[in-house]
């Protein structure tokens, strides 16, 4: 073989703080072990002092089917998707074309592909990437029990400059239970990959200078931790992709911390069970995705009307209907904001990153308990199922918590009309506190009433308790100065931040405002953050511009607004945002 190992110099992408970041993808049909290779690499990177994130591109198959592990590694915290991949290792090309758009390549990309697995797919060739052979299967044929993904892993490690011994350690930790023989084969395969004829990459990742503590977690786990830290001890749920891992993390954790998780017969049961648990005095939650959330809206209205605190986590996936269960999108915003019949004020929160799932979920519990109303938490598949090595995420700011009625409160009225709209809630078991929680409109006592005055008083009280509550500065993350603002929420926040950092490096002053609390809306607070801004770029991952419409409905926006809205599954990449910012700047 006569291979040219020289590479074009890539435009090094940078994490928000400017450190170099490296993006690589490992692909192969479901059985090929691409995902496992990615997980091992992420863990090894972490041990080497790097930060990073790994997402999964998968087909609908339970076993087999196309799959790719998509990683981005950096000496500084990084979580946005890369503009393009520096490296793609293809163990095979099975059905890769189903998600080529999710693995953008360019002339600076290096592709290592097994030549025995057929020709390079047209879109990959079209991207102009440098393709070099890495005959994983042929190489590993010499190793009894050796697997191709280990060859790929060895090659990746070599290119990244990760010591082979480190890889071996991680493989041993993750796959050690498969026995010594398997481990020996893995070691041999790793070595073959590392020894393959490969170019030197123009930039290597030097480990972070700091040896700060790093956590490794998925967004779904972080959400689980958040609700647990927030005090949730009762969970009822029905499995659904991509929310199930929130529940899988919580089930054993609850069982040992005095809590319980019940698998319900459906989402209707799940949310009503959770309402029952919360009525019983135990902070409660359920987790689901779009189709399940749709089934929960009737009971969410019950929680609003009966003033029962509750957290509902929606890990969003592609919609509408069953949509694309394994892929991410931000298109459940509408139903979360407006999905209940009647006037039903409630809380809607959204974590804006993997680590932030912890804080936002915890805060959601606190706000729901304090304000006695359901809190919807909109996570998504991209952050939920991504795994990141990150700095320990901060906890939520404190909330007052549930206002409870003391035993024997004279003339106790469950729905007494108070100035702040919050009425003390009697926990069953409290003498003198017996009352009927009701989804029918009611008097302060809780007796059903169809009278206009009771309806008006209770509607106003339920609205007031949300609108009047001081949510503090955590309702949004804001950074930067200047007359341009990027307005965004949820997953695209990381890309927005990275784009803004790069824009600043180019001399464009940009603010990033990422809303963590979507309801109750905070018009005064946003107005303050937008002071001096005359142009806003709205960034969201939906086809219907749901976030933009929400902003129009609830806020006054700068005179000039542009919207960058695209549905899933393609993530919003920093470079795409940067493009829009600089075009805008040019047009001035």
């Amino acid at each position: 073989m006569d291979i040219d190992l020289s590479l074009p110099q890539p435009a090094v992408e940078a994490a928000p703080d400017g450190a170099a970041a490296f993006a690589l993808a490992i692909t192969g049909s479901g059985g090929a072990g691409a995902m496992r290779a990615g997980e091992i690499l992420l863990e090894a990177a972490s041990r080497a002092g790097l930060y990073g994130v790994m997402t999964r591109a998968m087909g609908p198959q339970i076993r087999g089917g196309e799959a790719a592990a998509l990683l981005r590694l950096s000496p500084a915290p990084v979580s946005a998707p890369a503009d393009r991949f520096d490296l793609l290792i293809a163990i095979d090309w099975d059905n890769f074309t189903r998600f080529t758009e999710e693995v953008p390549l360019g002339p600076t990309s290096l592709v290592l592909a097994d030549p025995d697995q057929g020709p390079v797919p047209q879109p990959v060739a079209d991207a102009g990437a440098r393709v070099l052979p890495l005959p994983c299967k042929a190489l590993v044929r010499k190793v009894a029990g050796g697997r191709a993904n280990m060859v790929a892993l060895g090659a990746a490690a070599r290119l990244l400059g990760l010591p082979l011994a480190l890889l071996e350690d991680v493989v041993a930790a993750q796959l050690g239970r498969k026995g010594d023989e398997a481990m020996a084969a893995n070691r041999a395969a790793l070595a073959l990959g590392a020894a393959a004829e490969l170019p030197e990459l123009p930039h290597r990742l030097s480990p972070a200078a700091d040896r700060a503590v790093r956590w490794t977690m998925s967004g779904n786990q972080a959400t689980g931790l958040g609700v647990l830290a927030g005090g949730v001890r009762f969970v009822a749920a029905y499995p659904i992709t991509p929310a199930t891992e929130v529940l899988e993390w919580l089930a054993p954790a609850l069982a040992e911390t005095g809590g319980v998780l019940v698998q319900a017969e459906d989402e209707l049961a799940a949310i009503n069970m959770a309402i029952g648990g919360a009525f019983g005095g135990v902070p409660a939650m359920t987790a689901t995705s779009g189709p399940g959330l749709a089934l929960m809206t009737e009971a969410l209205g019950l929680a609003v009307a009966s003033e029962t605190p509750l957290v509902v986590v929606d890990v969003m996936r592609g919609g509408p209907s069953t949509g694309i269960p394994t892929k991410s999108e931000q298109s459940d915003l509408d139903i979360a904001l407006h999905g209940m019949h009647g006037d039903a004020p409630h809380l809607v929160l959204a974590p804006n990153g993997i680590g932030d799932c912890r804080r936002t979920a915890e805060w959601a519990v606190g706000l729901a308990e304090t304000l006695q109303t359901p809190a919807l938490v909109l996570s998504d598949q991209a952050m939920g199922q991504a795994r990141a090595v990150l700095p320990p995420p901060p906890p939520a700011t404190r909330t007052p918590g549930r206002r409870v009625a003391e035993p024997g409160t004279p003339g106790y009225l469950r729905y007494v009309v108070t100035d702040d709209g919050i009425s003390p809630m009697a926990r069953p078991g409290t003498p003198g506190g017996a009352h009927v929680a009701d989804g029918l409109e009611h008097t302060p006592r809780g007796a059903p009433s169809a009278a206009a005055r009771d309806h008006a008083a209770q509607l106003a009280k339920r609205a007031r308790k949300l609108e009047g509550f001081d949510v503090g500065p955590d309702w949004a993350d804001a950074e930067g100065e200047g007359n341009i603002a990027i307005l965004t929420w949820g997953s695209p926040t990381a890309a927005a931040r990275e784009a803004a950092a790069r824009a600043r490096a180019l001399g464009i002053a940009v603010r990033v405002i990422s809303l963590r609390l979507l309801l109750p809306a905070q018009p005064d607070r946003l107005a303050a953050l937008l002071a001096g801004v005359d142009r806003a770029l709205v960034v969201e991952q939906s086809h219907g511009r749901q976030f933009h419409r929400y902003l129009r409905a609830f806020y006054d926006l700068p005179a000039e607004v542009e919207v960058f809205a695209r549905p899933g599954p393609l993530p919003i990449r920093p470079g795409e945002i940067l493009d829009r910012l600089s075009h805008w700047e040019d047009a001035r």
Binding site: A253, L268, G276, A278, G429, V436
Partner: protein, 272 residues
């Protein structure tokens, strides 16, 4: 025990029920059963759905939840699992429990959480003014929605409950509130999920149900304890035998919960 008068378990709200509705007597029987049970009001919770019958909680003085249509059993399940120390009851109509709520009925029977369900059956949707319910005879033609009759074979709550694994099943009649009170009390005391199927006439939309007085008859054979035997024995049940018909021995469902760890222990694992 039993220092409390039945009246203490009633509230001072005037029921919205029609004069003569069977549900008045269900309320009476429930109050009597609770008084016998003797637990303080605040240790009891009654959950319901939507329907005339589901208005029950407001007329009692215990903790209550008047939820949405069809979901009483789910809400009660959550409450009982979260708060095993409470005595939890649920109540509702044949429409609430067997039409829109049929799935939760089925799964409550299987799950066998220790609570008691008053299924107040009048073979009609009372609250929405007289449509056929799952227990309505196929040839009942009084509803404008099904002028030729629903034409569907009725659900037999006993069969459905047994097939679904219920642990206790009794049938009572609102016209006999003393027996009904006894059945409710037995249901509460029996571990696991107990169904009290109450024939409670709707005098407004099913005036012919006044004849139920003549139709009911006390079951004299002792309750069955094996599901298979019960299914066999009651296969041809006429629906009017009152008394405890089945009393199973399955262990009530209640997940263990330990408090061996702090949530921070779980947090710490991410730093590994």
């Amino acid at each position: 025990m039993n220092a409390i008068a039945p009246q203490e378990y009633k509230s001072d709200l005037k029921p919205i029920w029609c004069p003569g509705c069977g549900d008045y007597s269900v309320l009476t029987a429930l109050a009597k059963a609770l008084a016998e049970l003797g637990r303080p009001r605040e240790e009891i919770a009654l959950v319901s759905g939507i329907g005339c019958s589901s208005r029950l909680p407001a007329y009692t003085s215990v903790y209550g939840f008047h939820g949405v249509h069809g979901r009483a059993l789910a809400l009660a399940t959550g409450l009982k699992i979260a708060r095993p120390d409470l005595t939890v009851l649920a109540a509702g109509g044949d429409g609430d429990g067997l039409s829109i709520g049929g799935n939760h009925f089925l799964h409550a029977c299987r799950r066998n959480v220790d609570m008691t369900y008053l299924l107040m059956d009048n073979q009609v949707y009372g609250m929405t003014k007289g449509q056929a319910s799952p227990t309505t005879a196929p040839d009942w033609c009084e509803s404008k929605l099904t002028p030729l009759g629903p034409g569907v074979s009725p659900v037999m709550p006993l069969h459905l409950a047994l097939a679904s694994g219920v642990n206790f099943f009794a049938r009572g009649f609102s016209g006999n509130p003393n027996e009904l009170a006894r059945l409710i009390l037995e249901g509460i005391r029996h571990p696991g999920f107990s169904v009290i199927h109450v024939l409670s006439p709707c005098v407004t939309f099913r005036p012919e149900q006044r004849a139920w007085k003549q139709a009911v008859h006390a079951e004299t054979v002792p309750p069955e304890t094996e599901p298979a035997a019960a299914l066999a024995r009651f296969a041809a049940d006429d629906g009017f035998a009152t008394g405890v018909l089945f009393a199973g021995t399955r262990k009530a469902f209640m997940p263990e919960r330990a408090t061996r760890r702090e949530w921070r222990d779980y947090e710490a694992r991410f730093a590994a």
